[in-house]
């Protein structure tokens, strides 16, 4: 699935943010998804980084524009500007560090304060390969995700476990939200003029480039 396509060949463009405490593996999740790379010697992220990848959803090409943010509290003044207009978010914690799971609540609040209510959020339990060091149980995380109405997935950027699934799921769900919204707005999604920005969070980045049938 998910073939790499020419840069501008897409039907939908969605802005997605990667957030969570420092050192939970956000940058490696991004590089695994966009370049299929994992870097043991990666530097800590200063400010924001950016990458893209397109995947197929139904018969459409959905392009994800993903912003990877510095995790340290001090950087939120800069990074929170990037939440604006995001239609999807991966909220990442490290299964071996309970405190990163505890902080999810604060990240979630921050995210909801800055984004549209229709944003699709995936709770991501990264470093699942470190089984012997696990400090957060799947049950606890699942219960939290259900309570907060989040999607949930356990991943390992190192072993390439579920990374593809986590991003694809977010993009697919966003796609469905967009289609539903288009239907709500005009009744007929094909009626939207080409290139019109879909209003999902007063976005300045995410857009629909070519609106076709959306019969999901």
């Amino acid at each position: 699935m998910a073939a790499y396509r020419a840069e501008d060949d897409y039907d939908y463009l969605f802005k997605v943010v990667l957030i969570g405490d420092s050192g939970v593996g956000k940058s490696n999740l991004l590089s695994r998804f966009t370049r299929n790379e994992f870097n043991l010697e990666s530097k800590s992220t200063i400010g924001v980084e950016f990458a893209t990848r397109s995947i197929h959803v139904d018969d459409k090409i959905v392009k994800a524009q993903i912003w990877d943010t510095a995790g340290q509290e001090r950087y939120r003044a800069i990074t929170s500007a990037y939440y604006r207009g995001a239609v999807g978010a991966l909220l990442v914690y490290d299964v071996t560090r309970h405190v990163t799971f505890e902080n999810i609540e604060r990240w979630l609040k921050e995210l909801r304060d800055h984004t549209d209510s229709s944003i699709v959020i995936m709770l991501v339990a990264n470093k699942a390969d470190l089984r012997h060091l696990r400090a957060v149980s799947t049950e606890d995380a699942k219960a939290f995700a259900e309570r907060e109405n989040l999607f949930f997935m356990e991943t390992s950027a190192l072993e390439s476990l579920n990374v593809e699934n986590a991003f694809s799921e977010v993009l697919t769900q966003v796609y469905h939200v967009v289609c539903r919204k288009a239907l709500d707005v005009g009744g007929d999604p094909t009626a939207l003029p080409k290139g019109q920005t879909i209003d999902i969070g007063k976005d300045d980045v995410s857009e629909v480039k070519k609106v076709g049938c959306c019969s999901a």
Binding site: E7, D8, S22, G23, N36, E37, F38, N39, L40, E41, S42, K43, S44, T45, I46, G47, V48, F50, T52, Q65, A70, Q72, R74, Y75, A77, I78, A81, T96, R97, K127, L130, L133, L158, D204, V205
Partner: protein, 441 residues
């Protein structure tokens, strides 16, 4: 630039890794000629020797003539610094320019005290970043090696010394850069000089909560781009590009995060003497050099290009003269006032240098001192204050207990480190491989 992909890395122990003259491991497929070697012709090295002799004369034995010379001929000093401080004198000269030497001499034993006796709320954060700071440099690559240990000590000591700032990601790259040119203790005091001031404080306020100064710099830079490079500025506006997408690292680490090291060093030479203005100038010079290409690129390629400038553009001998030709002092000041007019009402986030200094002095000695008052009956904060706490006996006593504490702290460090390390065994395996390669190379 320095990435290694383990997926595709052969990890073969047979091929020894090559390092450049600064100790960074060269990417395997590095076909680009070594800029520095290329410029090192015979006449070049003679010129270099003459330069070193001039510098030695200028600074005097152990730096004894420096202050006098700077006072007498500030412009000569400025000109020589802009040409680049000779690498063999760089560590010493940086300490002289910044005034950190004086801080060190005024405060014997204080650094050890901070490293050994104090605990910091940032310890775990620091440890987590240690192996993520210059991971491709031989000095910092070895787990628990002297490089990582010094880096940890300096950052931890600073986070204790300045609890308002603590530890902020990005500091590691600065401390790391300093540690390649001086001892732990020297690096610590230079960090203090940068952030709290000795001669001047070119980074004061940069890492405070909310990163107020970074925000101000980004605002100023945005407008400077629009004014000095209007065509590119228009293109950026059209593509919704703003400096926080590419330039925050420039300001937060003064180009030490991802730029070629020989360029970063030359920028640091000037930064220490002339302050943050050089960061703006180099930033503008980079954009100017690539203006024609950049204006053709759409959003995504543009962001990529702004984080990966072509090697020929980053040659210090062409980039820096271009940077100095861009005059921005007056505009920079005006834009600062403009920023303060707009954002000033948010209150504490805008702290001018003078106010900040007062704040540090006031807050500092109250907040910090509480901890120390309990233990020592004296407080420790500003350099003036710090220097009082050590009597010769106290220093001796501390030194005696140093070893014990160090071994204790080492165990603690190892424990913490183990708990935050992923795939530790893998890393160790790679380390030992690399170390053996260096040993053979």
């Amino acid at each position: 630039m320095e990435k290694k992909k383990i997926d595709e890395d052969d990890s073969g122990p047979s091929s020894p890794k090559l390092v450049d003259r600064f100790g960074f491991i060269k990417p395997e497929s590095s076909s680009s000629p070594d800029q520095l070697k290329r410029s090192k012709s015979t006449s070049g090295s003679e010129r270099e020797e003459r330069r070193v002799r001039k510098w030695r004369k200028m600074i005097g034995v152990g730096g004894s003539d420096w202050k006098h010379y700077v006072k007498r001929k500030p412009l000569v000093v400025k000109r020589r610094i802009r040409k680049g401080i000779p690498d063999c004198l760089r560590g010493l000269v940086w300490q002289l320019i910044s005034g950190s030497r004086d801080l060190l001499l005024m405060n014997p034993g204080v650094y050890e005290q901070l490293v050994i006796y104090e605990t910091s709320a940032s310890e775990l954060d620091i440890i987590r970043d240690i192996s993520r700071t210059f991971p491709s440099h031989v000095f910092f690559q070895q787990r628990h090696g002297p490089g990582q240990r010094s880096l940890y000590n300096v950052l931890k000591a600073y986070s204790v010394y300045d609890r308002d700032v603590g530890y902020v990601q990005g500091m590691g790259f600065i401390a790391g850069l300093l540690l390649l040119y001086m001892s732990e203790e020297d690096a610590f005091w230079l960090l203090v000089a940068l952030l709290k001031g000795a001669v001047h404080a070119p980074m004061e306020g940069l890492y405070l909560s909310g990163l107020p100064l970074v925000q101000q710099y980004l605002f100023q830079f945005d407008l400077l781009v629009k004014e000095y490079l209007p065509k590119l500025g228009d293109h950026f506006s059209q593509e919704l590009i703003n400096p926080s997408m590419y330039a925050s690292q420039w300001f937060i680490t003064v180009f030490s995060y991802s730029f070629p090291f020989h360029l970063a060093l030359r920028i640091w030479d000037v930064f220490l003497y002339e302050g943050v203005k050089v960061v703006f100038r180099v930033g503008l010079a980079l954009l100017k050099s690539c203006q024609d290409d950049l204006t053709k690129l759409p959003f995504e390629s543009l962001i990529h290009a702004l984080k990966n400038f072509p090697e020929e553009v980053m040659d210090p001998d062409t980039l820096l003269p271009l940077a100095y030709s861009i005059k921005i002092s007056k505009r920079l000041e005006e834009l600062k006032l403009e920023y303060e007019k707009v954002h000033g009402k948010e209150g504490q986030s805008i702290i001018t240098r003078g106010k900040q200094k007062q704040l540090l002095e006031r807050n500092g000695s109250s907040r910090h001192s509480k901890r120390f008052e309990k233990q020592k009956g004296e407080s420790i904060q500003s350099p003036e204050f710090v220097k009082k706490i050590q009597s010769p006996e106290a220093v001796l006593l501390q030194k005696l207990s140093l070893r014990r504490h160090f071994s204790h702290r080492k165990a603690e460090y190892d424990k913490l480190d183990g708990s935050v390390t992923q795939s530790g065994q893998e890393l160790q395996r790679r380390d030992s491989q690399l170390m053996s390669r260096h040993a053979t190379s």
